[in-house]
Each structure stands twice: as structure tokens, then as C-alpha cells.
């Protein structure tokens, strides 16, 4: 039977059809991921928990599971390009006191709270200003005011008031909910919202990143917001005009809300998109399963045929060896190997799997080979004087090969599931992004307890679909390949 005929035969039953379609989709996706992206860099980034800061919202569900979406506000305000409003200008002795305010209005339209808010606040000032104080306020649609930054003295010429990094390199915005609860910004926001919300539990549950936009009962406040930056300082002498205020000081404020949902499958607790992880894990699933099953079926198949052609004590010995290996429990040994060697290399894990799994096809292949061996045409071939090798390669192997392929397809799920189990125990290669590792992260971050169902449901489903594809294919293949042998 040719390959095209087998394919046509598989296509005829509906499970085979589904399996083939799924297989083609997954293969295309795997190839696409490897070819169209910088796969190595992407997987390295995916494995690095710290690389995802502020890029995507953390631990948010997929967008289709959320009834109302939060509004994405993106503000980048630089006071030197804005029109200042002078609130106060007063002569005090030899100094002039200034209170300057820059404000900006925007609309919040989303019916849900964002998951968090990113904030960056950088101040530059001249060194000869006296008693410089800065305040940032958010006037909200319900006319309440939230002090994002209570009056804070700024003593240096360049200060990153809120943000990560500073002295060197470009400072990055910080997610407000990741601030410690004794941080002045955290306290200031929570304290100014708390009379409105009242409920202490809700306050800590939402955190400052959400509270900025929350009204009574923790619901999103819709309408016009006004954010204002107020700086107060003393300038020596009497400046003649106020037009050049930005030479004294400038404030850079960046504010961005992170959505309450992301993409098709949400994100995990450090802000990695789940769908990206599934895509990155797909090529490795193919590598792991094909590497192990190809080697095991080849070794086991060859061994089985060998055992069928051997005679007397040799056959007995071969089968005893196979029996012994078959009785060794796989997962415990794998765990011991990985723990003891302290080498989490994926190739060590896979090779150990091959070393223990190769016995799988031995018994079936041996009985098949024995059956073929006893056929009259083999005897005829022997009578003509065909060598053992000729009989093996000319008559036996071609008949067993298709069945070996079916066995291989049916065996695909095993290595994947075992690798996932090892990864779940924290014993997988730290440089290989697999679905099992995503499940481990989810479990370690208490995703089940926190109800972040998307972070463990989708990786597990990906695993299930991958394995089921090959099982369905194998089941469709089996009756096509096997009866041919039986009928002879």
C-alpha cells in the first residue's frame, strides 16, 4: 500500500480526517513560529520572568471572557511643552514664591477597572531653587481628588520620583500594584480613596493601580479626569516675566493603564501572554515526542525482530532482558537521574526515556515476526538459499514497518506527558520552554487557588490536543496497517 493510499484511507474515517487537519495546523504553526520569529531570543525572553515588566497586564483573563473592557489610557506629559498656570506668585523677602500648575484633561470610557496602572514621574530642577515641592493630583469625575504624590520635597537636580532605574539609562515606569504597601505613593493613593470606598478588604484587594479609577463599591468611574502637576518653589530675586518658567523646572509624567484582559488566552502572573507560550512550546513538543518515539520504535522493532530470529538460549536471554527493562518504573528512575546528576539537560532526560521505553514494541513485533517467519514462502525462500539478512530485509521488515509507524504514532503522547510531569516537578531543562513548565508556573503561583483558570487550562488543552491528534491518527492507521498482517 502506498503512502497516498494510506492517507486516502485515513481521510475516509472522520477521526482520521480531524487528526490530519489538526496535525497540519500544528505543523504549520510550529514551522511558522520557528521560521518567522527569532525563536531562540523569543524563548529566552519567555523563560525570563523579569523581562515582562509592564509589557502586558499581569494575570488577566482572555478578552472574550470579560464582559466589559477597561479603557487604555496612555499619557506622556512633559511640562516644558505645556502651558503653565500660575496659581501663586508672591514676594517673600529676597525671593519670589511660585506655585505653578500644569494640568491635562482626558476621558476614561471603559466600563471596567484596568488591571493596573503604570506610572513614571521624573523631575528636573535648577539647583538654586529653594524649598522645591512637588505634588501630583488626579481630579476625578465624581469631583474627588486623589493625591498620587502628596507634597514631596525634591532636593536633587534630577530625581526619578516614581519609576524603576534612574541614575543611568532610561527610567522605566512602575506598575502601581507591585509597589510595597509602605511606599509613599501606595499610601497616598489608598489613603485618599479610602473614605470613598470604605471597605478595607476591597482597598487591599484592588491596590493603587485600580483604585485610581475606582469609585464607590470598586466600580469604574467614567468621565473626565484631570491630572495636575503642582510645583512650588522660591526663586531668587524678582523675575520680570513668567513666560520662561520651564527653565526652572520640568516634570515628565508617563501614565498608562493596563487592560483587564489580554488576547485570546490571557496572561500569567508575570505578564507573559499564554498564547505566546503555547506557540513557543509547540516546536519543542514535536522535537521531544518525535525524538523519543522514533528511537524507541526503531530500537524496539529491531530488537523484536532479532529476538524472533534468534534461537534457543539467545532468544530466551533477549526476552529476559526486555522483560527486565519493562519492569523498571520509568518516572521514579527519571526523577532520580535528574536529581542526582543535577543536569537538567533535555537531551539527558530524553535519552533516559529512550533507554527505558524502547521495550514497548518488542513483544508485539517479535510475535509478528515469528508469525511471518513460520509462513511457507519464507521456508521456500530459505530452501532456495536466501540468507537470513535477505529474509529479514526482503520479507519481514517491509511487512512490519507500517505497523511500526502506527506504533510510533500511537506512542507520541507518552514522552510529552512524561516530560510535562517532570517539568511539573521542577525537574525540566531551564532553557526549554514547554507546556509542562507553563503548568508548573501556574501551580507555583497558586493559579488554581486564585482562579486564574486561563493560565493552566490552555497549556493543558494544548497538550491534550497535541496528544489526541496522534492518538486519533494512530487509531485510524491501525486497522489499515494491521489486518494486512493478520490476513496473510
Amino acid at each position: 500500500m502506498s503512502a497516498a493510499e494510506i492517507l486516502r484511507e485515513i481521510w475516509r474515517c472522520w477521526t482520521g480526517r480531524i487528526a490530519l487537519i489538526l496535525l497540519i495546523i500544528q505543523l504549520c504553526l510550529a514551522v511558522w513560529v520557528v521560521v518567522s520569529t527569532d525563536y531562540a531570543a523569543l524563548s529566552r525572553k519567555y523563560l525570563d520572568e523579569t523581562a515582562w515588566l509592564g509589557e502586558y497586564p499581569r494575570a488577566v483573563p482572555p478578552c472574550w471572557a470579560v464582559p466589559h473592557h477597561a479603557d487604555i489610557i496612555q499619557l506622556k506629559l512633559n511640562t516644558s511643552t505645556m502651558k503653565p498656570e500660575i496659581v501663586e506668585k508672591r514676594q517673600v523677602g529676597r525671593y519670589t514664591r511660585y506655585v505653578v500648575k500644569w494640568s491635562y484633561q482626558f476621558e476614561y470610557k471603559g466600563h471596567a477597572l484596568p488591571s493596573d496602572t503604570l506610572l513614571l514621574l521624573v523631575v528636573k530642577r535648577l539647583p538654586d531653587l529653594k524649598a522645591y515641592k512637588l505634588e501630583v493630583k488626579l481630579l476625578r469625575p465624581d469631583n474627588s481628588t486623589v493625591a498620587i504624590l502628596a507634597k514631596t520635597p525634591i532636593t536633587k537636580e534630577y530625581v526619578v520620583v516614581v519609576g524603576i532605574g534612574g541614575a543611568k539609562g532610561k527610567p522605566k515606569p512602575v506598575a502601581l500594584n507591585t509597589l510595597p504597601s509602605d511606599d509613599p505613593v501606595y499610601r497616598s493613593i489608598v489613603d485618599s480613596v479610602s473614605p470613598l470606598i470604605g471597605d478595607e478588604k476591597l482597598l487591599t484587594e484592588l491596590g493603587p493601580g485600580k483604585l485610581l479609577w475606582a469609585g464607590r463599591g470598586g466600580k469604574a468611574l467614567l468621565g473626565t479626569y484631570e491630572i495636575s502637576v503642582v510645583a512650588s518653589f522660591y526663586v531668587k530675586g524678582q523675575p520680570s516675566s513668567d513666560t520662561n518658567l520651564s527653565k526652572y523646572t520640568s516634570v515628565y509624567l508617563e501614565m498608562q493603564t493596563l487592560g483587564n484582559c489580554y488576547g485570546l488566552m490571557g496572561t500569567d502572573s508575570v505578564g507573559r501572554p499564554i498564547e505566546l507560550g503555547i506557540l513557543i512550546g509547540l516546536p519543542w513538543s514535536f522535537v521531544i515526542s518525535f525524538y523519543v518515539t522514533f528511537l524507541t520504535t526503531m530500537i524496539g522493532g529491531f530488537y523484536g525482530i532479532l529476538a524472533a530470529f534468534a534461537s534457543g538460549w539467545r532468544a530466551e536471554l533477549l526476552m529476559r532482558i526486555a522483560d527486565t527493562v519493562y519492569s523498571i518504573p520509568l518516572l521514579p528512575i527519571l526523577i532520580v537521574v535528574v536529581i542526582v546528576t543535577r543536569s537538567y539537560s533535555i537531551w539527558l532526560i530524553l535519552t533516559t526515556m529512550v533507554a527505558l521505553l524502547w521495550v514497548g514494541p518488542v513483544v508485539v513485533v517479535r510475535s509478528m515476526a515469528l508469525q511471518i517467519k513460520s509462513q511457507p514462502y519464507i521456508e521456500a525462500a530459505k530452501a532456495i538459499g536466501a540468507s537470513n539478512a535477505r529474509i529479514l530485509f526482503r520479507y519481514v521488515l517491509p511487512q512490519i514497518l507500517p505497523y511500526l509507524v502506527a506504533l510510533m504514532v500511537l506512542g507520541i503522547p507518552d514522552p510529552i506527558i512524561i516530560e510535562a510531569a517532570l517539568a511539573f516537578l521542577g525537574l525540566s531543562d531551564p532553557t526549554v520552554p514547554t507546556w509542562g513548565k507553563m503548568l508548573e508556573w501556574a501551580w507555583k503561583e497558586h493559579a488554581v487557588l486564585n482562579g486564574w483558570w486561563w493560565s493552566f487550562l490552555f497549556p493543558g488543552l494544548a497538550l491534550t490536543v497535541f496528544c489526541a491528534t496522534f492518538l486519533m491518527l494512530g487509531r485510524a492507521l491501525e486497522p489499515i496497517v494491521a489486518p494486512k498482517l493478520k490476513s496473510r
Binding site: I339, P413, L425, F456, L471
Partner: protein, 343 residues
């Protein structure tokens, strides 16, 4: 008889192979553990011994050094590695006590660091969980397999086929996670895995067991029913069934008297074997996810705590149990199926 003896002989062979693998992998770590024990021994007998209390520190150290050398020699730790491998293998085979690094017992002799006791006290929990599941699985799977085999390609057959495919494709522990999320946190029907359970009280244990049993039954029934169906279909094509049909026996009678009689041995062995196998393989993590106080959770604990003596004993004991059950099943099979006895 010869057959049983040859089967019996495989047990020590496999056990020896497994032990040799284990010991040769862990011998350097075992060395460290033995040295640590020697150190503790010396501290007790020399440094903190009131008998030597009046001696100056230098002399004490000298005595300690001499004792250490003696002990190393007495325990054979100075021998080359290939001798030590067999030494360690022997001490495993004779169940010489091995002490855990971190973990201790909680029920039998609470607080004891003896690795064998730590493993032993967990075995009943695993056995209870999986035998309960196995019995329920069999009760469900046999009728389902029969129904499927009666009409190959029918609706029930298709459902069972799909069910088995999905059960094999899903890691059990992942299903356990989903079940916990749904039934413990979303709907709050069962107590969650973080729930404090008194492991000596059968009622609270039963409460905790409900969800794990449901999960294991759900995951194994499809597979077992599909296997039963395949076994039955194989038998249904045999000649004596055709003869029975030709005699005009009712189909129900054929199924009960002829098919089930023949199918019973493989069904029993396959089901039990698959369950025993699942205990030493996949169930390790399922138990850990459910926080069920069995062997699986111990594996998890030992791996997390990096407690290698416990891992060693655990692998050894679980292999032993696995081999013994397999042997028992082989005997059962021959008892149930007279054809093999004669062959």
C-alpha cells in the same frame, strides 16, 4: 510450575538491576550521608561525652580523628567505588535503616527520620485511594465495554473511543488541577487541597478522597472500557462463538457464558496492572496536586526538599511493590485462565 518459577526469578533480577542503577547513581551522595552520620556518632561519643569532659580539646580531637578513621574502615567507606556500590546495594536489599535528611514520619512513631517508616506510613493512603478507584472503574467499565462490543461502531462505541483518547492525552494531574479549580473553588462542593485533614480520622479522609477518586475514575474508565471492548471483540471473532451462534443460543447468553468467561482473566489483569502502573508513574503528581498523604505526595516532598535517601527508598519500595503485584497478577491470570496452565 516451571513458568511460575521463571516468573519468580525475574523479581530479584529486576530488583537487583534497579538497585544497581539507583546505587551507582547515588553512591557519592550516599557517601556524604554516611560521613555525616559518622560525624554525628563521633560528636556523641567523644566531644559531648562527659567521660572525656576533663580532657583538653587537642586530645579530644585526636581521639575523634582516630575514631573517625576506625569507623570509616569498619563501614567500608575507604573501599573503591565498585565495592561500595555492592555494599550499598546489599544494605538496601536487607532493609538496613536509611535516615532522611529533612522529612520525618507523622503517623507511625512521629518524628522519626527513618526513610522506610516514612514510606511505609504513606502506602496505605495510596492503596486505599487507588483500590477504591479501581473497583469503581471496573464496575463502570465492564458494562460499558460490553455495550460497546455489542455494537462496534455504534454510538456508545464512539463515545468510549473518544473518551479513551482524551483520557490518554490528558495528564491526570492537569485534570486534577481543573477539577480542584471547578469543584473546590468555583463551586465549593468539596474541601480543597489546602484543607486541614486529620489523616488518622477515616471520615475526614473519606471527604478528602471524594474528588481524587472521581478524577481517577473519570480518567481511567474510558481507557479500561476501550481495552475491554477490544478484548471482547477479539473473542467475538473466534470460532467457538460462531459455533454458539450457529447453535441458535441467544446473544445475551453467548456474551455471558462464552465471551465473559474467556475475557475475565485479561480484563482483570489489564485493569489491575494499569492501576498498579499508574501508581508508580502518573499518579505521583496527581496525589501531589490533591495534597493526598500518599506515596505520590512523598515523591513531591522529597524532590522539593532534595531528600535523596527518601527518594532512593521510595523508588526501591515502589519497584518492589510493583514487581510483587505483577507477579501476583500473573499467578491470578494462570489461575483464571486454564489454557495457560496447560501450555
Amino acid at each position: 510450575m516451571r513458568w511460575i518459577i521463571s516468573k519468580l526469578l525475574t523479581i530479584p533480577i529486576v530488583l537487583l538491576v534497579v538497585i544497581l542503577i539507583l546505587v551507582s547513581l547515588t553512591s557519592s551522595i550516599l557517601d556524604q550521608i554516611m560521613m555525616k552520620q559518622i560525624e554525628i556518632e563521633i560528636r556523641r561519643s567523644v566531644i559531648t561525652n562527659p567521660q572525656y569532659a576533663n580532657l583538653p580539646m587537642e586530645q579530644k580531637m585526636k581521639i575523634a580523628e582516630r575514631m573517625k578513621e576506625e569507623l570509616i574502615k569498619a563501614l567500608g567507606l575507604d573501599k573503591p567505588w565498585y565495592v561500595k556500590v555492592f555494599m550499598y546495594a546489599y544494605s538496601l536489599l536487607t532493609f538496613k535503616p536509611i535516615y532522611a535528611r529533612v522529612l520525618t514520619t507523622r503517623i507511625i512513631d512521629p518524628g522519626s527520620p527513618n526513610a522506610y517508616l516514612i514510606v511505609l506510613e504513606r502506602i496505605p493512603f495510596t492503596v486505599v485511594l487507588f483500590t477504591t478507584s479501581a473497583i469503581i472503574t471496573l464496575c463502570l467499565a465492564i458494562p460499558l465495554g460490553l455495550l460497546a462490543a455489542r455494537k462496534p461502531g455504534g454510538l456508545i462505541d464512539k463515545i468510549i473511543s473518544a473518551w479513551s483518547i482524551f483520557s490518554i492525552s490528558m495528564p491526570w494531574w492537569w485534570v486534577a488541577m481543573v477539577m480542584i479549580w471547578l469543584f473546590c473553588y468555583e463551586w465549593r462542593i468539596f474541601p480543597g487541597p489546602e484543607h486541614e485533614t486529620d489523616w488518622a480520622n477515616p471520615i475526614s479522609v473519606a471527604q478528602r478522597a471524594a474528588l481524587p477518586v472521581i478524577t481517577v475514575v473519570m480518567m481511567s474508565t474510558g481507557v479500561v472500557a476501550y481495552r475491554i471492548r477490544s478484548i471482547l471483540l477479539d473473542i467475538l471473532t473466534e470460532d467457538f462463538i460462531t459455533t454458539a451462534r450457529a447453535k441458535g443460543l441467544p446473544e445475551r447468553m453467548i456474551l455471558r457464558r462464552y465471551v465473559l468467561r474467556v475475557a475475565a482473566p485479561p480484563i482483570v489483569t489489564i485493569v489491575l496492572l494499569s492501576i498498579v502502573l499508574s501508581i508508580v508513574s502518573g499518579a505521583i503528581i496527581t496525589e501531589a496536586v490533591f495534597n493526598w498523604y500518599g506515596i505520590g505526595l512523598l515523591f513531591w516532598d522529597a524532590v522539593v526538599a532534595n531528600d535523596i535517601p527518601v527518594v532512593l527508598v521510595l523508588v526501591y519500595i515502589s519497584t518492589l511493590l510493583y514487581l510483587l503485584t505483577r507477579f501476583a497478577l500473573d499467578i491470578l491470570y494462570t489461575y483464571l485462565d486454564p489454557r495457560i496452565r496447560r501450555a
